[in-house]
């Protein structure tokens, strides 16, 4: 007869696992996702100087690289900007910096805490009120400026040698033969993301429960090396 006690631990673990997954990944089980519409490519990347107070760099956008079909699809979607930033090997940085998207005369400025930037990752900033149609095919500037970070405790931005998106310009007008590494994204809605996430979560939970089931429900005498070698040799 089935011994119910041996199933209790795996079942408890499975319940805990599901709760932990839903807490940690809760926000991910949505239908929205970020779609890249324009991006610069990596090529012999180098970091910028530290983004301390008074630091300023501007990067234009090159809309000739945008696909017209994508524009039609995403015209009314909100816009996000993803920048490839660095924090000097997970150094404890402080202060803030600002990222501004300048479209015509309008400036959309977001202040970012340097602490929230992870090393060598794409940092995403969303402009919920800005629709893609408001910026696409218009002269746009990305401005990265320091506010109050101190030298030795500030972040930096990666720059690529691929300047098809345009060249970085400093405050004094110096033009660099480099481009910021960034992506312009739109927020899209698709049920695919939700369905994929749920199915993979189910497979993961079942697999993990089975691993636990094997660890708690295996007969104790089965770990005899001799038994296994003999059994394997038959």
């Amino acid at each position: 007869m089935m011994n119910l006690k041996q199933y209790i631990l795996p079942l408890i673990w499975m319940a805990v696992f599901v709760i932990l997954v839903s807490i940690r990944l809760g926000d991910a089980y949505s239908s929205t996702f970020f779609h890249t519409v324009l991006e610069s490519s990596s090529k012999n990347n180098k970091p910028s100087k530290e983004i301390v107070a008074d630091f300023y760099m501007m990067q234009p956008l090159n809309w000739t690289l945008l696909d017209n079909e994508v524009f039609r699809h995403d015209a009314k979607s909100p816009v996000c900007l993803k920048m490839f930033l660095a924090n000097y090997g997970d150094r404890k940085n402080n202060g803030t910096f600002a990222l501004t998207l300048g479209v015509d005369a309008q400036k959309h400025r977001v202040v970012v805490d340097a602490k929230t930037v992870r090393d060598n990752t794409n940092h995403r900033i969303c402009f919920e009120d800005l629709k893609f149609v408001d910026i696409a095919f218009k002269p746009v500037e990305i401005v990265l400026e320091g506010i109050n970070s101190q030298k030795g405790a500030a972040i930096s931005a990666w720059m690529t040698q691929d300047v098809r998106q345009g060249k970085v310009v400093y405050k004094d007008g110096t033009v660099l033969e480099r481009s910021l590494i960034f992506s312009v994204e739109t927020i899209r809605v698709s049920n695919d993301k939700f369905i994929h996430s749920i199915i993979l979560s189910l497979i993961c939970c079942l697999s993990c429960a089975l691993v636990f089931f094997a660890s708690t429900c295996t007969p104790i005498n089965s770990n005899s090396k001799k038994n296994f070698i003999q059994r394997d040799n038959t």
Binding site: F33, G89, S190, H196, L200, S207, V211, A214, T218
Partner: protein, 527 residues
């Protein structure tokens, strides 16, 4: 049927089945076409065979127009020459079967292009079962063997490659089967297992051009020193095993000589290199300037993407964040376990607890000679010093990401090198076949790594940048590495509960990788 269920308990069968379900689901609904490394070229070779165009010839074989139109959504493209390195045909022949059967039922390219992916998914599922049997073979109990096998299926890169048209996971499976019979021979001393091992090694050599050689050579060399005498029998078996092991790779090399005049000819053989004058950097300069170990480790865990999401342009990402940190902690912990285990064996050897090996093999003869020598302890001490100095130097000279987890990854590599060097000396003092397998595994893995490193170093000098630092290149040697680690886990009595806990954390890490990183990445490329 009962025999089958006795060998494979229900949990591991279901875990393997769930892996197949996961990989097939990803193959058909999640992983975009052409987002697996070189998938477009592999598929074109498979298609040539499925459509009875014979064995494709590198330089003449083309990528079908239909594939190019699908890739770039552009009807004006022409059919290019298949540019990827052509490997021996065993995987392509197997992968052509579902494509051939599917072509009788449908004309839909979205389905046909994905059909060969089934072979990788099934290979991944079978791999978990073979690893499970191998772990049981060396004495692990069902719980531990299940936990460690499941862990392999929770590595995002293994799952990713299992959802694509690529030979990597099939090669992983063939090498796992070779490892199983390698271990069986060392435990049971049945000559039949040596020939089974040779058969799977030749199949591995008939699946991929280069990397299986770095496993095949040391594994066969070990079998030779472990084969029993007398000399007449030894020569007969060495000849038989050599012939069988080399049969398929030699047939492929002969073909290459006939067509190209070079046995190791690949698409890169006569390619113009990026630098006109090769770099003049030493090997240690290379390790210092380039994140070689870092990329091998990180890419082993997960480097997803290809030319599908980028619609013709290469677009990929390395798995980052919590999943990568979990993996870094895992490999650091496993390296520590390996070092502690090697220390345990060293303690036994220094205190003369080792027993003299029996048998008439070359290694038994050498072991008896060394154990009886009065300077035997000196050998261990010298090797210990060499190991600690060399591994320490490698760690000091290597490019290490200056963070806690980057440091862990760097230290893990150094500890593995340390354990492998010490393992060479300990082999002569260890008569237990299971411990010997673990030591052989460490030696083989570092030999394999050294060959691979010398290859990528050569590419660096010619190209001027880090090339081919793909963790998946290590797949042939991973079964024996896992076997060594599982023996260490067994000897150090790591609790089954802890292994299950680690496996489930890795299961979660893979889920997070897909939900937070891979799926959004794939969707970002859709039009």
């Amino acid at each position: 049927m009962r025999f089958f269920f006795e060998r494979y308990p229900l949990p591991i069968l279901l875990i393997s089945l769930l892996f197949a379900v996961k990989a097939i689901y990803l193959s058909f609904w999640v992983t975009p076409l052409w987002d697996i490394p070189d998938e477009i070229g592999h598929f074109a070779y498979v298609q040539d065979l499925a459509e009875s165009r014979g064995l494709p010839l590198l330089g003449k074989a083309k990528i079908n127009l239909e594939i190019m139109h699908h890739l770039k959504n552009d009807q004006s493209l022409s059919s290019p020459v298949n540019w990827i390195a052509q490997h021996p045909p065993i995987y392509y022949l197997i992968a052509a079967i579902p494509l051939k059967i599917g072509s009788w039922m449908t004309n839909d390219p979205e389905i046909l292009f994905r059909l060969p992916r089934i072979i990788s998914a099934l290979s991944g599922a079978l791999l978990l079962l073979v690893l499970f049997r191998t772990f049981l073979l060396v004495g692990l109990d069902v719980a531990r063997a299940t936990g460690i096998s499941a862990t392999v299926g929770f590595i995002p890169m293994v799952t990713h490659l299992s959802s694509g048209t690529s030979h990597d996971v099939s090669l992983f499976l063939f090498c796992a089967l070779a490892t199983y019979f390698f271990a069986r021979y060392l435990i049971f001393r049945n000559l039949r297992d040596v020939y089974w091992c040779a058969l799977w090694l030749t199949i591995a050599g008939g699946t991929k051009m280069m990397t299986p050689w770095a496993l095949l050579a040391p594994m066969i060399a070990i079998l030779f020193v472990e084969l029993p005498g007398p000399i007449k029998n030894w020569i007969k078996n060495v000849g038989g095993v050599s012939l069988l092991t080399l049969s398929v790779p030699l047939a492929w090399m002969t073909r290459n000589i006939v067509y190209f005049g070079n046995p190791f000819y690949t698409s890169g053989t006569n390619r113009k290199t990026a630098l006109d004058v090769p770099l003049n950097h030493s090997f240690f300069d290379y390790l210092h300037l380039q994140p070689v170990f870092e990329h091998f480790v990180v890419n082993f865990y997960g480097q997803l993407g290809g030319i599908g999401t980028g619609i013709g342009a290469l677009k990929w990402f390395q798995v980052s964040g919590l999943p990568r940190e979990v993996f870094s902690m895992l490999i650091f912990s496993l390296s520590c376990i390996s070092v502690i285990y090697v220390f345990l064996l060293m303690y036994r050897a220094l205190n003369s607890i080792s027993t003299q090996p029996k048998g008439s093999s070359l290694i038994s003869w050498a072991s008896n000679l060394i154990i009886k020598n009065k300077f035997r302890k000196l050998l261990i001490v010298v090797m210990f010093l060499v190991a600690i100095l060399f591994a320490g130097y490698i760690n000091m000279k290597s490019f290490v990401i200056p963070s806690l987890f980057g440091g862990m990854r760097g230290l893990a590599v150094a500890m593995i090198i340390f354990a492998a060097i010490l393992a060479v000396a300990l082999l002569f003092f260890t008569s237990d076949p299971v411990d010997r397998i673990a030591l052989y595994g460490m030696v083989i893995s570092v030999f394999f790594g050294a060959i691979l490193l010398s290859h990528v170093y050569g590419a660096y000098l010619e190209e001027g940048g880090l090339r081919a630092a793909h963790g998946r290149y290590f797949y042939p040697v991973i079964p024996i590495v896992l076997l060594s680690i599982s023996i260490a886990v067994l000897r150090l009595r790591i609790p089954a509960f802890l292994i299950a806990l680690v496996a489930t954390i890795l299961g979660y890490a893979e889920l997070e990788t897909y939900v937070l990183q891979a799926i959004p990445f794939y969707l970002s490329g859709s039009l």
